[in-house]
């Protein structure tokens, strides 16, 4: 086993452990945004797409690299934006300004 491969394996294993631990009991309400947030994180694949694009030298490879770039970019950009939108729903202050009316008038 090369030193490089071992490093990668060690990093992989430790990251798996971090991933297992970072999720503790989450309220069901947050399941969807959390899934969406994790989805955005694997948008990091765009980094890989950028790197391979620079190796491409012929049509087939240009096409594959272009696809990877587009798909990866959609994942990462869309992922973060849609998660953020979902989460606005949780940070919203009392928008109904008449919700706190005092009792009476009935």
């Amino acid at each position: 086993m090369s030193q490089d491969l071992y490093t990668n394996i060690a990093i992989f294993v430790l990251s798996l452990l971090v991933g297992f631990e970072v999720i503790s009991k989450i309220p069901a309400t947050l399941h969807t945004p959390m899934m969406s947030g994790a989805n955005a994180i694997h948008g990091v694949v765009v980094v890989g797409a950028i790197l391979i694009a620079l190796e491409a030298q012929s049509l087939l490879f240009y096409v594959i690299a272009f696809c990877a770039a587009v798909l990866g970019a959609i994942n990462v950009a869309g992922g973060y934006v849609v998660t953020d939108r979902m989460l606005t729903m949780f940070s919203k202050p009392k928008a109904q300004n008449n919700a706190d009316n005092d009792k009476g008038g009935k």
Partner: protein, 472 residues
């Protein structure tokens, strides 16, 4: 390592830490949004570093640079616009779509590197194994997530689709996949092996997802999300890039735990969900309704109006029907009306009400219901005793006392104890069952009365009649 690579590697670590801390912050609503932003900051750092590497390496052709930049810009543009404009209720299918493209990108990287290495020689295991895993997992999530997207969007029937010979076909596809893997790992490189693996994986993704009912899709999407993470980590091994490995493994593991929790919240096992065939109904079709049993009381909008106008504490219990009828605006209108007249209104939110986790929160937040009026399961249950009227709108399973008995489809699921409140009004279109496909005794409770109507129309009538009595 060159100084540049040292800096890049260290910044990659920082960005990995951002993802972790960001995810951690998403555990509670208060910090969730900032958590997602922190994670995004980490991502921007990673991308900047990558561009530095690319510029420094300077190996790309002009075409390569152009295509890459155009691709990224197009992708970002499309992603942002879609994410900005999608309706709240369509978000789950969009997440699924984003997951599909992520899997696709990972598969593309695998293809690229396998084809680059294709010169008829044998591959080293340290390269061939991750490349094959990357390809297969990426392709499966790509097609699987697309099917899930279609089901969630209603473009593909939400019903579990099965056909004669499905099992046989499945077995054949799995065999083909195994053969392709063996060809790629154990034999000389060959682009046809790649094509075989790719096609088999795409078909497998489809076959895996179509037999699953639409209502189970959120769990499936979550599972595929974890898969994509693993595919990305494998891509990281292939191109020897550590931020891909870290982020991919992180999502792979976190996504797995999340999937288990989502399934647990629905009182199902992941295996049971993947086996498919559950959640046939979605009860969209009210023609399957049983006859109304004799011991069920019917009521009218007028009567409900009176009850509400003279109540002190009203609890609204929303369920899937509210979402199906898109009646959230009417609910908010009714609540505002009641609150203006000094009536306490709260919402009892069951964790799995609706068809996706947080479905009810999403719907109600869309119409600006304050967060603190949405009572989660336990808090709501402690409030029912003092509730004068519980207004059950399109909810069924989440109120079904059958959960407290043994041997029913929902045994053991915690439910909203609506039956503790002084009076119960149920709005639904018929006596037909909900997701779990079982009858609900609550409806024949002495204190319960049924108002058979579409949630939207029914609520409009109730608003009208409430107004009358409130303004008297």
């Amino acid at each position: 390592m060159t100084p540049l690579m040292s800096i890049v590697s260290l910044v990659y670590l920082v960005s990995a830490a951002c993802y972790v801390v960001g995810l951690h912050m998403m555990r509670t609503p208060k910090t969730a949004r900032n958590g997602n932003r922190l994670s995004a900051v980490g991502m921007v750092l990673a991308v900047i570093m990558t561009f530095l590497v690319a510029i420094n390496k300077n190996s790309a052709t002009l075409t390569g640079w152009l295509l890459m930049l155009v691709g990224v810009v197009l992708g970002v543009g499309y992603g942002v616009i879609k994410a900005r404009t999608v309706k709240m209720t369509d978000m789950p299918q969009l997440v699924s779509l984003f997951n599909a493209v992520g899997g696709g990108a990972a598969a593309a990287i695998g293809m690229f590197d396998y084809l680059s290495a294709t010169n008829g020689s044998y591959l080293q295991y340290s390269f061939s194994i991750p490349v094959v895993l990357d390809l297969i997992i990426g392709a499966v999530t790509f097609s699987g997530s697309l099917i899930a997207t279609g089901k969630l969007a209603g473009k593909i029937s939400g019903k579990p689709i099965s056909f004669p010979g499905a099992k046989l076909l499945n077995a054949i596809i799995v065999l083909v996949m195994v053969a392709a893997v063996v060809l790629m790992i154990g034999f000389r490189t060959n682009s046809w092996s790649l094509v075989l693996a790719l096609v088999a994986s795409l078909v497998f993704g489809i076959l895996m997802t179509i037999p699953i009912g639409g209502a189970d899709m959120p769990v499936v999407v979550s599972l595929l999300n974890a898969f994509t993470g693993l595919a990305v980590a494998m891509a990281g091994f292939v191109i020897d890039n550590q931020v891909l490995i870290i982020a991919g493994a992180l999502v792979g593991a976190a996504g797995t735990i999340l999937t288990l929790q989502m399934a647990a919240a629905m009182n199902r096992s992941v295996a049971n969900i993947i086996a498919g065939g559950f959640g046939t109904g979605d009860s969209g079709d009210s023609s399957v309704a049983d006859d109304v049993p004799v011991n069920v009381k019917e009521t009218s909008a007028d009567d409900i109006g009176v009850q509400l106008a003279y109540a002190n504490n009203v609890m609204i219990v929303p369920g899937y029907g509210l979402a199906a009828a898109q009646a959230q605006h009417e609910v908010a209108e009714l609540a505002t009306l009641l609150i203006e007249h000094g009536i306490n209104v709260n919402y009892a939110i069951h964790p799995v009400a609706g068809r996706m986790p947080g479905h009810m929160n999403v719907l109600l937040a869309e119409v600006n219901v304050p967060y603190d009026e949405m009572k989660q399961l336990e808090e709501a249950n402690s409030m029912f005793e003092n509730t004068d009227v519980s207004l059950v709108i399109g909810a069924n399973d989440v109120t079904n006392p059958a959960a407290r008995k043994k041997g029913t489809a929902i045994t053991g699921m915690p439910i909203l104890d609506v039956d503790k409140s002084k009076s119960i009004v149920v709005i639904k279109r018929s006596m037909s069952t909900g997701y779990a496909g079982i009858q609900n005794e609550l409806f024949s409770d002495d204190k319960a009365s049924m108002f058979f109507a579409d949630a939207k129309k029914g609520l409009q009538e109730i608003i009208a009649s409430s107004k009358e009595y409130l303004d008297q």
